[in-house]
Subunit: 291 residues, 2 copies
């Protein structure tokens, strides 16, 4: 298994990993510019499809190699955590970024309002069931962080229970890392203005009605409290073995490019080669040629 | 919910559904040409990427509408069953065809050698757990048909048990159809020659070693028995509510185009519109504009 935990150390300054890494220590998420486009090599929206397409072959090749490393042995896995306010682009990221990856290597789970059975268990119970297997890119559309986000804002648990969860999350993520899972957490940072524009599109376009949920307006009315809850989550659970990245999401094209680039850099840093044959190659060649 | 069961009836002659539908009645799978390209509108391999890309926006649009139909109500689902000899292209189909679909709407399961727990249950037990939910395109990479294919060839169950399974499968698929699941079964038809070429590529290219399994040579040595087992499966379990299609797979580019086209025709035939809003649109507009 690769030592996937050492990879943050060799970031070079121009990498998206370096540019978007949330600094350790106290965090004020409102200080990040949601409309920024750090590291983007192109002209903007105009060439964004070409820029994304340019990354496709690299992602494709890296992902296949990553997948192949777990066919006969237990290679590393990736867990991509997507968190953000409604309209930030969790679904769009899955569609456009994860949509570029071979479905055979993807394990996607969207965490919804917990069921009664889930609530009857520890908050990590339902999360553990969905962690990616070796060779898989797991994607959490929302995650265990909801339990310190909406959990905190809506007071869904006692204050001391919420406080304990940050430590529990760090232990959980350390355990994942020690078993070869590279945990990559993305805070999809959208501005209030951009969120309003996206809500408007949803209520004005019949093809987007299905994306609108009046409850999203309720969450927005607690915007500042959510930002404070994100501040705490990003400062208390931001170890190098499970780093947070702050993704500027006001431009969807930048978001797609940046997260694709991030995935590429993370898998590239694992330094995986194609796995050796687990069979006698010479003998197999002779057998196949004789067919 | 749409009446997804009536859709086979209105096939027009030029559709891939009509061209590749396995006729009901006795079947001899060796009579189908694995190198044929029925319905392909282009020149062949030369323009195959363009032909596939040309289908992408249609699939994308249809799939999103299909997905949207199950957000607030229970819309239909699709179950795409992929069966074929090793090297026929089950994995390639998932990669290239299902890879075009938004991962949020995909439920993929690859059935492997049954575990002890699975063997302790009825053969459909593990299969039922993986059927797609409403709005999902489920893909079975191998399926319950293994239990009448390798099950028959390798005598993994008593002959009378194997005989009973065809009826059990028909009942199971009828049940799926009655709950709104459109079952589409693809026999990926590869010739012995093409299989040999693909095995050769796997043993000669270090980037493809991971796809080679010496056990595949063992299956090939029972080729004729497998073909007879497919004959039985395709003739006994080929109702209009869960039809078999025979996909010529010697040309990978044709296979990808044909299965994409098939998915498009099947979803198109459901005649789905964008779902109405489940909220008061005027009120929501006023609320969002006032934000």
């Amino acid at each position: 298994m690769s030592a996937v935990n050492d990879t943050v150390l060799d970031d070079h300054p121009g990498s998206v990993r370096a540019l978007l890494r949330c600094p350790r220590g106290a965090v004020d998420v409102t200080s990040f510019d949601a409309a920024a486009t750090p590291g983007y090599p192109g002209k903007g929206r105009a060439d964004s499809l070409e820029q994304l397409d340019a990354l496709r072959p690299t992602l494709d090749d890296l992902e296949e190699r990553f997948y192949a490393n777990s066919i006969h042995t237990r290679g590393p896995s990736v867990l991509l955590v997507l968190q953000g306010m409604d309209g930030a682009g969790k679904g769009g990221t899955v569609r456009h970024v994860i949509g570029m990856v071979d479905p055979q290597g993807v394990h996607l789970h969207a965490f919804k309002t917990p069921t009664k059975e889930e609530l009857a268990h520890d908050f990590l119970w339902r999360v553990r069931k969905e962690v990616p297997g070796a060779g898989q890119i797991g994607i959490f559309d929302r995650s265990h962080y909801e339990d310190v986000l909406i959990g905190r804002v809506n007071k869904l648990a006692a204050p001391d229970e919420i406080e304990k969860r940050y430590g529990r999350i760090n232990e959980f993520e350390a355990e994942l890392a020690s078993h070869g899972t590279r945990v990559i957490k993305c805070f999809l940072n959208v501005s209030k203005d951009a969120q309003k524009k996206r809500f408007l599109a949803r209520v004005n376009d019949p093809e987007k009605y299905y994306k609108f949920n009046p409850a999203d307006l309720e969450s927005r009315s607690h915007w500042d409290e959510y930002m404070q809850a994100y501040d705490l989550a990003l400062s208390r659970c931001n170890e190098d073995y499970a780093p947070w990245y702050v993704i500027p999401c006001d431009h969807k094209w930048y978001r797609n490019w940046a997260i694709t680039r991030l995935l590429i850099e993370e898998i590239e840093a694992m330094g995986l080669t194609w796995p050796p044959a687990d069979f006698d190659v010479e003998q197999a060649r002779r057998q196949v040629e004789a067919l």
